[in-house]
Symmetry: C2
Subunit: 250 residues, 2 copies
């Protein structure tokens, strides 16, 4: 029998941290949660996240798991103990015992898809309440053009032209985007991306490229040329507007 795993649903404001991944400086979100766990359990505990988020990127629904230690407690007690030992910019929204499937639950390998949102503040000045939470785009954006451009990207494509190289040359760059929704409410435009998985910096490169097209500085043929491998996009949107909204599991 596989050992029981505890599954964490995590929200964070990414501004103060170097990203999800554990770092030598100890300021990754993973580092903070592992330190909190070590303090509670009394010995080192390794956690496994659904995937990395970059410095400054937020999460409403990051997921991680760890092996349940021998001296355990109720899930409600785990949540209280963790939040009491974490900086207030990181909160554990939920703790559950992972479903006991044959393969065992794994935050990364059991994930079937992800949802990211990207918030754009389309006005002349960034509202103070949106600092670090949205990207200021002070040019007119045509919503119909944005939606037509997004439709080009949906589907199964080689997204190598929308990825930053992270030194993993053998990784396939083919991914399926199942949906891109674009909503506007006042000056706030929200892009919602759903897909089975995303390459490194892919959502930010897709967003930056869509905004180029929305401004009229690129067209659908340019996007198609990137998808076909003829070009690479270097229009990367800043981390501020990006949020890992949800990780899907079967």
């Amino acid at each position: 029998m596989k050992p029981k795993r505890l599954k964490l649903l995590i929200a964070y404001d990414g501004r103060l941290f170097t990203g999800w991944q554990s770092q030598a400086a100890g300021n990754g979100i993973q580092d903070h949660i592992e330190r909190a766990l070590a303090k509670i359990v009394g010995s080192p505990v390794r956690i496994h996240g659904s995937g990395r988020t970059d410095a400054g990127v937020h999460a409403l629904g990051q997921v991680a798991h760890f092996e349940e230690p021998p001296q355990t407690r109720t899930t409600a007690r785990w949540q209280i103990a963790l939040n009491a030992n974490l900086p207030p910019e990181i909160r554990i929204l939920k703790v559950t015992r992972a479903p006991g499937t044959k393969q065992g639950f794994h935050a990364r390998y059991s994930a079937t898809g992800k949802r990211y949102t990207y918030r754009i503040w389309n006005d002349r000045f960034l509202h103070p309440f949106e600092l670090g939470r949205a990207w200021l785009v002070p040019y007119p954006l045509d919503l119909a053009t944005l939606r037509a451009a997004a439709a080009v990207l949906v589907g199964r494509h080689d997204f190598a032209g929308f990825a930053a190289n992270r030194g993993e040359p053998d990784e396939s760059t083919i991914r399926t985007i199942s949906d891109i929704r674009i909503a506007k409410r006042g000056p706030l435009i929200t892009f919602t991306f759903e897909g089975e998985g995303f390459l490194y910096k892919m959502v930010r490169l897709l967003t930056g490229s869509l905004i180029r097209v929305g401004q009229g500085r690129g067209d659908l043929a340019w996007l198609q040329a990137i998808l076909s491998g003829a070009k690479k996009s270097n229009h990367c949107a800043p981390p501020d507007g990006l949020c890992l909204a949800k990780v899907f599991y079967r």
Copy 2:
């Protein structure tokens, strides 16, 4: 003829500042705007706000005015120049030439009323996106009780029992609250207060006292006793949740 006045509509995230009012340390919101104006105009400019907000209190619609200097510019240029010289936590949302009434426009004396909002996060833990922007109340709150309690406070009353003394003994403590609305969306409860004017810390004392009643730790008779002058409330809600939403002018 009165000199022309320029009217500023101002939003700020109050966390980094010592409040609206100019302070010796120079970190009042007024200080920042006056420094930006002095830099633009080349000589000191005094601004007049609609009223003070405390350290940590936010604004979506603070109003201030200043005398238009001889070397002037369009209102759009004023807005660009001011925002370029202000910290990003303070934004000028709008600049207009003040209406030329007989008495002359005055941000404080021409105001006929104010709207404040107070945001309460009613859950076990404060969401990281609400840090500094809402008050965490982790106890069950009864909405019907809150609304009944709010109804007791609406109207013309002596609010001395809901005010902190700021050393202005001669000031009347009679005020009229025209409306208190209470809205709930998920864990977020928003109180909206409207009235001709509010005493020092009055909105935070009203909020803290309403929450006592909503928790069942005070009742309507207790609120009435405070209004009648028999008691004083010392239940002051933290600044985090408070926002000056709008200043009304005729």
